[in-house]
Symmetry: C2
Subunit: 203 residues, 2 copies
């Protein structure tokens, strides 16, 4: 490292390097591969520096999940833009299938978002909630004409997301039967079509 | 142990004792508390006997999950019987809320059903799939008048279950916002009502 480099850029670079390493470990091995000592060793820094930058291991996991949520947002935004002007059920379905594809293509990273649990009485940083809120707002925007009340609409968006997520998660983990992508898509299609058709009756 | 006791009853008793111990550990500490050496020590048997009875640790986890699924079936059957004769959406909603209550009241045991993953290319025993199928058939039975095709009906039942499960799981883990039971119930209510109203449109 050159002498004239100030402390901040070093910290930023170390942060970026550790994060890249963490993402590659999670992608290959899942969340259980993330141990502080191992990361420090592979990144060539001390465990102290690691904690100094990320607070603790949970902080590093959240930082990694922030990156995954950003990649997910990109995938969902692509669907959102591509379906503009289409009927609600078609738009919701395209978004849901984009979600299921993202999960399959980024299996361990996607799992890490949901497998990570903070100690009781701790919550994720507000910025992470804001990232999630932007994703959920894609659904809210699509159903805006059907549900005018903002609170009910946000509730519907959360419920729709969680419903599709449940189908994808149980299918990928072969929880109800051995995994088959086409079958998962059929179930996603069913719930999205049914819910879209019944949207107003549920308010 | 009395001398005249034959080998089979001993094995059955040991199996029941280990299972009770395993369930109590999972209930208190979650799946991560189940280690072979610890269980053998606390049950007063050898690790060899443990494996001899359950095959391996996965076998013990599955045996514990079979018990939890049986308790869940009891809770869901109570709802199923109590709502006979009521409209479809009311029956599905009662069943879904019974599911969410079971999850909350048996948090770690319920989590263990979904957190446990077998090594790739291994599947749970057929009897465990049959247990799950009986639970899903409660949903299939409720929607039988709406969807006459058996295959489509079973798909709808799986999708409905997974959708409700997704809402309950993300809510309990505070994944989209801090947990609030009433909010989770509102989301369950939304998806069940919407899906029930749109059931035929989705076929």
């Amino acid at each position: 490292m050159k002498n004239r480099t100030s402390r901040e850029p070093f910290r930023d670079r170390a942060r970026a390097e550790i994060l890249t390493l963490a993402l590659s470990i999670v992608a290959k091995e899942g969340l259980q591969g993330l141990q502080a000592r191992r990361i420090a060793r592979e990144a060539g820094c001390s465990v102290g520096s690691l904690y100094n930058i990320f607070g603790d291991l949970d902080g590093l996991v959240i930082a990694a999940n922030v990156e995954t949520v950003a990649a997910l947002e990109k995938a969902l935004l692509a669907s959102f833009s591509a379906t503009e002007g289409q009927p609600i059920d078609a738009r919701l379905l395209d978004l849901a299938l984009a979600y299921s594809r993202f999960a399959l293509e980024n299996l361990n990273l996607w799992r890490a978002i949901f497998a990570h649990r903070l100690p009781p009485n701790q919550d994720v940083p507000p910025s992470y909630r804001a990232d999630q809120a932007r994703l959920l707002s894609l659904i809210s925007t699509i159903i805006a004409d059907e549900i005018s009340d903002r609170k009910l609409r946000d509730r519907a968006a959360r419920a729709l997301f969680a419903a599709v997520h449940g189908i994808v998660a149980l299918a990928i983990d072969s929880k109800l039967e051995a995994f088959e992508e086409a079958r998962m898509q059929d179930e996603v299609r069913f719930i999205v079509k049914a819910a879209a058709a019944g949207l107003k009756s549920a308010m």
